[in-house]
């Protein structure tokens, strides 16, 4: 998960393909994100979460396939839909849940919540409630990494909706100019809130990067191996000083834009059940599970064991969050400025 060698470890048979142990790790990470978010979905529906959650269910292959190539000293910026990126980049599930529960043990001490989970010690510069805002932050971190010269890289995850913010073009420009070690990962899940993105997006998103002659690929975002491969190349390019790359991962948002969507929509619809069903058939976790069994890397028992491990971690995290102390209300005033000895 945090292999520093763009995924080519000792037990890899072929270059360009994750090793069996890596495949298992990719599987278990996707499953962890899935089960964690299903729990958030249920907790939210039961009215036990203070705020809203935007779930990543169905898109797990993107975060997991990309972050497999990153270490803690690499940077990532995320979106309002940030649980998957947080976990894939090595964030702690318990600290994330405590955060979403609004507890002092939360990774942001309850100050940020679901939309702002961040762990600077892991290079996770934060989920972000402002659509598109992560790109420039990632470019800044990539600039820092380039000045450091240690081969660290930055990744910015953003949605197809965010790809219509002008900051995309600005950051394609500056990162190309300065040869920044930056990987743009556009998670095209076909929606911007309730708006089918094709209604608000002209042309192909990937072409916007191609206009800068940036190395650009489009991948099946529900195929973790495809994402892993594309990201491996892009990250390697960044590490070796060859500048930015662009990945457009085609995927789908299975859940609503946020979890209480149905109350907001009050009957309004923006997609067909058949569409959801078709994408469920392409579920990235089930697909990898089948593949693991097919190639003999796993069997039903080992997959069940993974499931059990994940469920235990989720249960533990819920218990941790529930048992946490309430957030400290004095923190807001304390934290606005770093106190400086003058």
């Amino acid at each position: 998960m945090t292999t520093r060698t763009d995924g080519r470890d000792e037990d890899t048979g072929r270059e360009g393909e994750p090793s069996p142990s890596e495949l298992l790790s990719l599987y278990e990470q996707m499953l962890l994100i899935r089960r964690a978010e299903e729990r958030l979905r249920d907790e939210g529906a039961a009215g036990r979460l203070p705020g809203e959650v935007h779930l990543y269910i169905g898109e797990e292959a993107v975060a997991v396939g990309v972050c497999a190539h990153l270490s803690d000293s690499d940077y990532a910026t995320s979106t309002h839909r940030g649980h998957g990126h947080f976990l894939a980049k090595g964030g702690d599930l318990r600290a994330m849940f405590a955060e979403i529960w609004g507890k002092d043990e939360g990774i942001c001490r309850g100050m940020g919540g679901s939309m702002h989970v961040a762990d600077l010690s892991k290079g996770i510069l934060g989920a972000n409630g402002i659509v598109g805002a992560g790109m420039a932050i990632a470019a800044g971190a990539a600039f820092g990494a380039k000045l450091d010269g240690d081969g660290n890289v930055a990744v910015c995850f953003f949605g197809d909706g965010a790809a219509n913010q002008g900051v995309l073009m600005e950051n394609l420009n500056v990162s190309t100019l300065w040869g920044l070690p930056l990987v743009f990962v556009c998670e095209n899940n076909t929606f911007s809130e309730f708006t089918p993105s094709r209604e608000v997006t002209a042309g192909r998103i990937a072409d916007r990067a191609r206009a800068f002659a940036m190395p650009t690929v489009e991948v099946d975002g529900n195929d973790v191996v495809a994402v892993w491969n594309a990201a491996g190349e892009a990250v390697e390019r960044a590490r070796s000083g060859s500048g930015p790359s662009f990945i457009e991962a085609h995927t789908y948002r299975i859940q609503g834009h946020f979890e209480s969507e149905r109350f907001v929509l009050s009957g309004g619809r923006y997609r067909e059940d058949e569409e959801i069903a078709a994408w469920l058939d392409r579920d990235p976790i089930a697909r990898l599970g089948e593949r693991l069994v097919a190639i003999g890397v796993a069997d039903d028992a080992s997959l069940a064991a993974a499931e059990a491990r994940v469920m235990e971690r989720v249960a533990e995290a819920v218990a941790f969050a529930e048992a946490g102390m309430p957030a400290d209300p004095a923190l807001a005033e304390e934290l606005m400025f770093v106190r400086e000895e003058v």
Partner: protein, 329 residues
């Protein structure tokens, strides 16, 4: 009279004005299905030329409003949350608020920007700002802060028919308050405050969503023998100085309650106006009850701690009146 939620009153105002004037155009992110609920159904009624979803690009949405208005349309831009004003701030600060002066008065910009604001729903820092003080500081922009469905409807209709840029701040929460809305073509003038409760010992000026806790405070103050007047300015630009100053003349005490942060905020602004123009009436210091100069935290207990509420208002008034006067037993 009809009982309507605030967002319904907003929707009614939009529908009526769109029906009344074919030059009224509404656009914004997700206005067709409407994530905040206030534009729901308009697309079915008026079609794609009159109301449409836009890409996510606030800098362009605010800039386009200027061009579309200059081309003779009445533009309503829905910006969802007031935090996104920052994203679209260039055209607000450098164009919308300045173009009329810069052109020597050649252009009128009938633009209405709608957005929800404020905290209370654990939406955290990037969705909970009350980002209007910066608008007041620009000049050239009306700022509307209705506290009731009736005012929401009446102010919005006036703004849409008006000839200047107006920002309509929606204290919507989960659909907003319910209240009676007058039938017919209900218009509310800009710049006329509403006295929500009469009183003699202290004046509480409360903005938008803060009117409710101010009234609750007044209620509990009454139980302690203190008579507080509650004034809802309804619009911050233009601002009804007369009503506020007359009230302070009567009461001699002023507490200003606003959900925006304190520093260079609306509470400071109103306090300064009274300290300058109503000083002779003041029996004691002015008091500001505002959000401290912090980003809004997520955890509900921490959020509640920073947002102004009835208790802080009550305490401020009691401090001003000097002592807790008790009702005769």
């Amino acid at each position: 009279m009809a009982r309507r939620r605030l967002i319904q009153a907003v929707g009614d105002a939009l529908a009526e004005e769109m029906r009344r004037d074919p030059k009224v155009i509404v656009y914004g992110e997700d206005v067709e299905l409407s994530i905040t609920g206030d534009t729901r159904g308009l697309h079915d009624m008026f079609g794609h030329d009159r109301i449409r979803n836009t890409p996510i690009c606030e800098a362009t949405l605010t800039g386009m409003a200027v061009g579309l208005a200059a081309a003779g349309y009445r533009v309503v831009v829905h910006m969802m949350f007031s935090n996104f004003f920052y994203t679209g701030m260039d055209a607000i600060g450098n164009q919308m608020s300045k173009l009329r002066l810069m052109t020597g008065g050649q252009v009128e910009l009938p633009i209405t920007v709608i957005a929800g604001y404020g905290g209370g729903a654990a939406n955290a820092a990037q969705h909970s700002d009350s980002a209007y003080p910066m608008l007041l500081n620009l000049g050239g922009i009306n700022v509307l802060t209705p506290s009731t469905p009736a005012d929401a409807k009446g102010l919005l209709k006036t703004a849409i028919r008006g000839r200047n840029p107006s920002f309509f701040l929606e204290p919507s929460g989960r659909g907003g308050e319910i209240g009676e809305v007058p039938d017919g073509d209900h218009l509310v003038r800009l710049g006329v405050a509403a006295i929500r409760r009469e009183g003699t010992d202290a004046t509480i000026v409360a903005i938008g969503r803060m009117v409710k806790p101010a009234l609750a405070a007044a209620e509990s103050l009454a139980a302690q023998g203190v008579s507080a007047e509650v004034i809802d300015p309804r619009t911050l630009v233009p601002f009804d100085e007369t009503t506020v100053l007359s009230s302070v003349e009567k009461t001699g005490r002023l507490v200003v309650v606003d959900e925006a942060r304190e520093r260079c905020g609306v509470a400071s602004q109103i306090a300064a106006v009274v300290a300058e123009k109503g000083f002779a009436s003041l029996k004691g210091p002015v008091r500001r009850v505002a959000t401290p100069n912090v980003a809004i935290p997520y955890a509900p207990n921490a959020e509640a701690h920073v947002l102004p509420g009835a208790e802080r208002i009550t305490a401020a008034v009691l401090e001003l009146v000097g002592a807790v006067r008790r009702l005769p037993a």
